[in-house]
Symmetry: C2
Subunit: 390 residues, 2 copies
């Protein structure tokens, strides 16, 4: 195998696929990245795979001898990222007869300034990415997918033990719409985005589309999408166990999360007796200040909605350290009420809401409270209040 | 006590003195910052002190009632840093008769948006900063002091057990010069700076000036100096146990480190048989790349000085991962030689050297090796080579 490519292409693509390489591989070859040089298409294809998440990309190169090898992903990335811009030559003697199977063979990377020899492992040991040939397929707009991920990913659970809650539930409540849902059991984010052109090519069933995808895989997808134009589309294919996203030459595969996703729509109250509109950034900055005192104790902040004064007061009272109170103007309809929140859950949602004005809706201090953006994307953030001690 | 000040003044000064407040105070009052409001001078003075390092600053305010209190340093800093710009009012009822000594009393901070009540502790419990009345005194130029600290602090030991090596040894080898020395036992940095106007007002002895000051205190001094003009001067006073730096209203005190500082000048060879001049940034970037492979093993990089080719080659050979070699042009006088370095010690020095071209001087692969800047500040960086295995 031998090819010449630009440092910037190799570097950019190694960074992408490297995200799917496990830091503690269960088998040595999984700590490597697979490089395939194709002399016909004059392209290099890179692959990383931790047996759950897989990422494959490709980029143009001058391939003089085709072939495939695997190289230590982190080491190769660390070297290539430190090289200055210019041409890089990678070569490897593919004559297997001379290779010691245990030790692997040697690949040589040459830059303008130096030469690196790295131990490679046999490409045949590297697993294939799962493929979905006869499952369902959708074309998604990158703009809609990015918007949905940005406003939901933060709310997924990060505790591996919570299984299906570590994913985003993606569904299609009606044609032309995509719904993203994420919850960790304490709060829930639901986002609906418009798909300008969606084609469902279901070959097997007419079931409504619904799939739960690990948040970790979708965070990598979000990173990949950021380098693409919002005008582009990508395809999503899935079967019983796998999902595959494809954008041009790039492909991301992930196992699906199994198990029934919570029936979250039932948690969202359909009517509210109290509503408040408030400036989001003003609310965030007040919350950041009063929560300095909440940090010292139980992380609880009181919201006092005063409909007579059309004013929201945030307060914290910590017997050991002191107390804080801040007030901001708000448009409140309904009775005055006092509710209490866990600062972290509230703040995460406020930061993810995409508009400058937001709405809070509630009934009693013990029922779910809803935050929505005023205008823009259709998003619902539900958070349970905490009980106020007497 | 009652005063009105600007958020930016209070915030900037709290950040400075907060650096001297211990995160785990041995006595509760040391976790606080001392605030003194002086109605005569219309100034607020702030103080932080961990019994070794002390910092005091002051800034203008409208003081309506003078007085002194202490407030939790981190809590106050966290709140004030999050407030938007504008006026802040701080008030405290100083009538001691009503104060519960155990619980402290309450101070109230009012901003445009809210009100914070914080528990204060009695100012009388707060220790005085050490003062040096009848010791020696020097006036130092900020430019020279900053330059000396920048090129020496990195080489001091960070291991508390190494006592005197955790400090910078400051001395005056001849009138008008300041010498900074730092070593952790593996490498040594010595910097000489010119003092344009130095006045030694020694009242007791005519001993040559020499003092070892904890690096931690000098890092805080460096931070304070960065906010001052290079044209300014500061005064350094010291006695048997303490040093005091004063710049305008700001004062930093520190205990001295006791014990004899190593006779480092004896370690620096006076003659060298081999000399090499090389571009510093080029050397650093090569070293960063080949050291990716050194990281995997013992952190050793070989330097091959080839005087015939006028070329320096850096190489690493790691049996498990592979090998790397990079070559750069160099002006070499003397015999060709191969020496080996620990990457970390070498890199620290190369990064601290202030010029674009540097000089390396050596005799044999087992004797101390010296790096100097070519032009600019007078700096010597000494590093011991590591033994090359056969």
């Amino acid at each position: 195998m031998k090819f010449v490519c630009s440092q910037s292409d190799l570097n950019a693509n190694l960074s992408i696929v490297g995200r799917a390489v496990p830091s503690r591989p269960t088998h040595p070859v999984l700590g490597n990245v697979l490089l395939i040089a194709d002399s016909k298409s004059q392209k290099i294809s890179l692959r990383g795979f931790d047996l759950s998440l897989g990422i494959q990309t490709s980029f143009p190169a001058q391939v003089t001898v085709g072939g495939a090898i695997t190289l230590p992903a982190k080491l190769l990335n660390d070297i290539v990222s430190r090289l200055s811009e210019g041409e890089i030559t990678l070569s490897h003697d593919d004559e297997e007869g001379e290779t010691d199977v245990e030790e692997g063979s040697i690949a040589t990377l040459t830059s303008t300034s130096g030469r690196y020899q790295l131990r490679s492992l046999n490409a045949e040991e590297y697993p294939d990415l799962p493929s979905v040939e006869d499952g369902e397929a959708l074309n998604l707009s990158i703009a809609a997918l990015s918007e949905g991920l940005r406003s939901s990913l933060f709310a997924a659970s990060t505790e591996e033990s919570k299984q299906v809650l570590t994913g985003i539930h993606l569904s299609q409540p009606e044609a032309g719409h995509l719904e993203f849902a994420a919850t960790d059991g304490h709060r829930l984010a639901v986002v609906q985005t418009m798909q300008e052109e969606t084609e469902v090519e279901s070959e097997e069933t007419d079931d409504p589309f619904a799939v739960t995808i690990p948040a970790r895989a979708l965070r990598e997808l979000e990173r990949i999408l950021a380098a693409h134009s919002n005008e582009d589309t990508l395809s999503l294919k899935f079967n019983e166990s796998q999902v595959v996203f494809e954008i041009g030459d790039q492909r991301l595969t992930s196992r699906k999360l199994e198990g029934a996703y919570p029936a979250y729509q039932q948690l969202i109250p359909s009517q509210f007796s109290i509503q408040m509109a408030v400036e989001r950034k003003l609310l965030i900055s007040c919350l950041e200040r009063v929560s300095v005192l909440a940090d010292q104790k139980n992380n609880v902040v009181n919201f006092d909605l005063n409909s007579d004064d059309q004013q929201l007061s945030l307060s914290v009272d910590s017997a050991d350290f002191g107390s804080a109170i801040e007030s901001i103007p708000a448009q409140i309809s309904g009775d005055s009420i006092v509710v209490a929140f866990n600062v972290k859950y509230l703040m995460d949602g406020l930061k993810a809401l995409p508009t400058s004005e937001i709405q809070m809706q509630l009934n009693t201090p013990m029922q779910p409270i809803i935050f929505n953006p005023l205008g823009g994307v259709k998003m619902t953030y539900l958070v349970m209040p905490v009980q106020i001690r007497d």
